[in-house]
């Protein structure tokens, strides 16, 4: 049988990947709401900084765990099954992985900015921050829903 790296760990990795994604979707949604508050002159700065930190850690963890399980998925799930019987799932996964990568600098950027930004005084910067957090939250929600749909079709 063809073996991929971390194949025997793939299910555990995907389970931990899902657990990290649960933390990520909760923290990024809260972070999004706090950043919307900045635009409406409601300043929960300390909370915003905490959520930004949780998001960047959860995002990195989710991505790393997914990246470790990816070779097993690529051959055993996509190569042998999805590309034949569920092309939509194969394509949706690839959209999801590309979106995840594009969200990484936004997660890191929002965290770095949250450490120095004073939303009461840096009003011009708040819009940029909110745009960053909004795109990031949209990516997180899209990827979580896509991940559930793909795994419902077939998992590692």
């Amino acid at each position: 049988m063809a073996g991929t790296i971390f194949e025997s760990w793939a299910r555990v990795l995907v389970l931990l990947h899902a657990a990290a994604a649960v933390v990520l979707v909760g923290s990024s949604t809260h972070h999004f709401l706090v950043s919307l508050g900045y635009l409406r002159w409601r300043f929960k700065v300390r909370l915003g900084r905490i959520y930004a930190a949780i998001v960047v850690i959860a995002y990195g963890t989710t991505m790393l765990l997914g990246a470790l399980a990816y070779p097993t998925y690529r051959y055993h799930v996509r190569g042998l099954y999805f590309d034949r019987h569920a092309v939509w799932a194969s394509n949706l996964f690839d959209i999801k992985e590309n979106f995840a990568a594009l969200g990484l600098p936004l997660a890191i950027g929002a965290f770095l900015l949250s450490r120095v930004m004073n939303p009461k005084e840096d009003r011009a910067m708040v819009v940029g921050y909110a745009v960053m957090v909004t795109i990031l939250t949209a990516i997180v929600w899209f990827n979580v829903v896509s991940g559930i749909l793909i795994t419902m079709e077939r998992g590692v």
């Binding site: 070779p71 092309v87 590309n98 979106f99 990484l104 011009a124 745009v131 795109i135 990516i139």
Partner: protein
């Protein structure tokens, strides 16, 4: 003794970081999406052979996501520090400057996302040949 001229105002540390982050996110998106436009050597990982290869087109089952993410990440780090150094020597960023940097960043990221969604939504992938041991579930 003549008084020295006042030093011109510079960007605050927060503004400089904002510019650097926007430049890094833009560079990441452009670097990540570049191989989709232009035939470029990318680092491919062959999951069944456990090897890496720097090539334009793979010769079998291979994954380019790691390579593209790595290149885009390096580009983003370089863009961050270059933009940070330049921003620290620049005039303070006004409302218009903040809006422009935000627009550049959002446009680059959203265009990259739209490109991948468009390319992949209608893709017809070539399945890997079934091995002899394969038992359908």
């Amino acid at each position: 003794m003549s008084e020295s001229a006042p030093r011109p105002a510079r960007m605050t540390a927060g503004q400089a970081r904002f510019v650097a982050i926007a430049a890094a996110a833009t560079a990441f998106a452009l670097g990540f999406v570049w191989p989709a436009f232009q035939k470029t050597r990318v680092l491919w990982y062959y999951p069944l052979e456990h090897r890496w290869a720097l090539e334009i087109t793979p010769e079998g089952l291979a994954m380019d996501w790691y390579g593209r993410t790595l290149v885009a990440g390096v580009l983003a780090i370089v863009a961050y520090f270059v933009a940070l150094a330049l921003a620290r020597r620049s005039k303070p960023l006004g409302q218009r400057g903040h809006t422009l940097w935000t627009a550049w960043m959002a446009t680059a990221v959203l265009l990259a996302m739209a490109l991948y969604a468009h390319q992949l939504a209608t893709r017809r992938p070539v399945p890997t040949p079934l091995p002899t041991w394969y038992v359908p579930r």
